[in-house]
């Protein structure tokens, strides 16, 4: 019998769901938005439809990412560090270092024999995260998706003197006013993020093979800038956003197989696809104080 498992990765910016039964049956990526539970529900429904199964067919669901506690239909929560490591190792078994650059954070994960041995994380400051790219993209009037390709046309890379996203945005505006080319500014921005992320990841000592994941790994200009810092080429999964969700699904598969082997039943009574109330106002107010 096929064991269907799902991994749900609620990131700060994007939510990803992977349904797996030995191979990936469905993979859906959608924006997270302010209401995690509603997003989890929506993206899960889409993934179930793609896999042509229902929630009851899923033997096990693992939630991960920053919003992992807001998945009422998950059987278990696992940190994104563990899930990323697992997901990346399944694609690149020789990985030693993962550099994950997400929408609002960045991480360096050190792996030995498929296990996490150390990690560093920045979620305190927008510099060195996808948010930095978004802010600059808006200031330059380009789409985030086209930043990478555009920056490759740069002939000279200006140096951004500000670390802070807010001040860098102002710096970029004044360069535009001075007539600096957009592609050159973008190259400077990629250089700045690469410097920051490299400095952070170096704290766990970057070793080959290096795999770059997260939404920012789709930016070829940033990846090339990182390669220049590291000194050799890095690996990028074909879908760098999905590694956390894939890892979560694989961890779910392991737990489910063990349970089936031992004959222990997996209770799904607590699972709720749709949360009773999507937006619990009293609860969210309570969080503020």
């Amino acid at each position: 019998m096929d064991v269907y498992v799902a991994g749900v990765d609620i990131g700060s910016t994007m939510t990803k769901v992977v349904i797996h039964n030995g191979t990936i049956l469905a993979a859906i990526i959608g924006p997270t938005g302010p209401e995690h539970r509603r997003t989890a529900y929506k993206v899960m429904l889409e993934a179930l439809a793609q896999a042509k199964i229902s929630l009851d067919n899923l033997t096990y669901v693992v939630a991960t990412g920053y919003g992992r506690l807001n998945v009422p239909f998950a059987d278990k929560q696992v940190t994104e560090i563990t899930c990323h490591a697992r997901g990346v190792s399944s694609i690149f078994p020789n990985v030693r270092t993962i550099i994950d650059i997400g929408g609002q954070d960045s991480k360096g994960i050190k792996i030995s024999n498929g296990k996490v041995i150390n990690f560093v994380m920045n979620d305190k400051c927008a510099a060195g995260t996808g948010r930095f790219l978004e802010v600059i993209a808006e200031a330059l009037g380009v789409r985030v998706e086209e930043m990478g390709e555009l920056s490759l046309k740069s002939g000279s890379i200006p140096k951004i003197s500000s670390t802070c996203t807010v001040f860098a945005e102002q710096e970029v505006t004044s360069w535009l006013a001075m007539g600096t080319k957009v592609e050159d500014i973008l190259a400077g921005i990629h250089e700045a993020i690469a410097t920051r992320v490299h400095g952070m990841a170096q704290r766990v000592k970057i070793e080959r093979e290096v795999v770059v994941t997260g939404g920012c790994a789709k930016n070829v200009g940033l990846v090339k800038a990182l390669e220049r810092k590291i000194g050799y080429s890095v690996l990028v999964p074909s879908e760098p956003l999905l590694t956390g969700a894939i890892g979560a699904a694989l961890i779910g598969k392991e737990i489910a197989s063990q349970a089936i082997e031992k004959g222990t039943p997996i209770s799904r009574a607590e699972r709720r696809l749709a949360a009773v109330t999507f937006f619990d106002e009293s609860a969210s107010r309570g969080n503020q104080s």
Binding site: P34, Q104, K124, C125, A126, R131, F132, V135, T163, C164, T165, V166, F167, Q170, T173, S174, A177, E281, S284, R285, Q288, S289
Partner: protein
Amino acid sequence: MVKAKRNIKKKPWALGIDIGSAFSKAAIVSNDNGDIYYHIIASRGDYRAAAKKVAEEVLKRAGITLEDIACTVATGVGATSVAFSSIQVTDISCVGRGAQYLYPSAGTIIDIGDQASRLIRVDSEGSPTNFVVSEKCAAGSGRFLQLIARVLQVDLSEIGELSLKSGRPTAFSTNCAVFAESEAISRIAEGALKEDILAGIHKALAAKILAMVERAGLEKDLVIAGGGAKDIGLVKSIEEAIGVALLVPPEPQIVAALGAWLIASERSTTNQAESLLR
């Protein structure tokens, strides 16, 4: 005006210019009666043009021309763009001297500008003896307030009074101005009050100032300068955080320009008649 013209023959006039990232300020103190003439305009990214404009206006207000000025001191991030200045002096020195000119008892100055916050310890002459600058990160500067005011669609001049109405300041989970901006948007979507968010930002900024106080120490009297000092909510939050009352100048934004004037007036023995507004 005529009187002023006569007086310049006795004692030369001086001009202080402070070109900040957001605002440009100019100050002249009258040779007749000690009246302070000043002008403040937005820098708008063109420091050179801002310097010329703000100087022309303050000269007009003082009833003199640039030819009457014996020495001009420029300070601030755009000091090098002041084509007609005699010398450039650091903002630390100018803020210190300016605050001491207004309050001879000043021992420490907190300066909250657009891109940086500074804590400056001064001696009895207003000369800096120690200072700390927070300029790496917008979270410690007046820019943070500007960002949040924009998100909340509140005029910068209103945020102070509005924040005083807060009963429950919002606690932000982040120190980063960029992340706090999105957090403020989410909170508003959830129905949070603007005053609570502003009070929360004031508390966050006050905590940054407290950290600077802990590093450089504090000596009374304490003067607050810079655009941030115009925000009564921020002033009160800082007072609460550090437990010391603050002296707030009537126009806190011109403290550095005033210090620049003071330094210029001490050096105004050299003739600068050949300098022209270029």
